[in-house]
């Protein structure tokens, strides 16, 4: 799967708009999960594998290559970690955590109303 560089045609858009490249990237299996897990601490390849249950090493490696080339993730002595840019991106998606618990509560509420 081609790496979605801003400025190039990506899945969903031929315009080259950066947001479209980003949405393509984040919309790939495990990409969001990898960013999410790398926030707290550096993780080795195999630690990442066990965090992301059932990710195959083949795919983990592909995603890591993409994230590294797009300057969101890097690799140091203690394993894989977010770059500064990756941290910025994480700060944006961080509120998804709290929001999702409210979302889950509302879905439950609704389900109860139906019964």
């Amino acid at each position: 799967m081609a790496i979605p560089f801003p400025g190039q045609a990506v899945r969903g858009s031929t315009t080259g708009k950066p947001i479209m490249a980003l949405l393509d990237l984040l919309g790939r299996t495990w990409a969001l999960g990898i960013l999410w897990h790398l926030n707290k601490q550096s993780l080795t390849f195999r630690e990442l594998q066990s965090c992301c249950e059932k990710i195959s090493p083949t795919l983990l490696n592909s995603r890591l290559k993409e994230l590294r080339q797009l300057n969101l993730v890097t690799h140091n002595e203690s394993g894989y970690c977010l770059t500064d840019m990756g941290q910025e991106l994480f700060q944006i998606i961080l509120p998804l955590g709290d929001w999702s618990t409210q979302w889950a509560a509302d879905l439950n509420q609704e389900q109860n109303n139906d019964t």
Copy 2:
């Protein structure tokens, strides 16, 4: 593909944590793109198809079913649109737009430094 309800096992996690369901959902092909395009206005099925270049009607329909069941998207007289909860979610991911342009600029910068 099973709909990732919070509280149930999803791709990447068997814990049932809402954030994991959300990351599974948003990590599916086109899900983020659909939310992004529906923000400004309601769109018919066929308008969505042409916004999301190259999405197949089969898949668009699957994603819409998921998003509707998870109470993020609904369907009214003028087409598909975000629910209140969908709007909330959109507000969280909205900053991705501005951030992505900076990200694209930084990537370019870096590329120039290498040459």
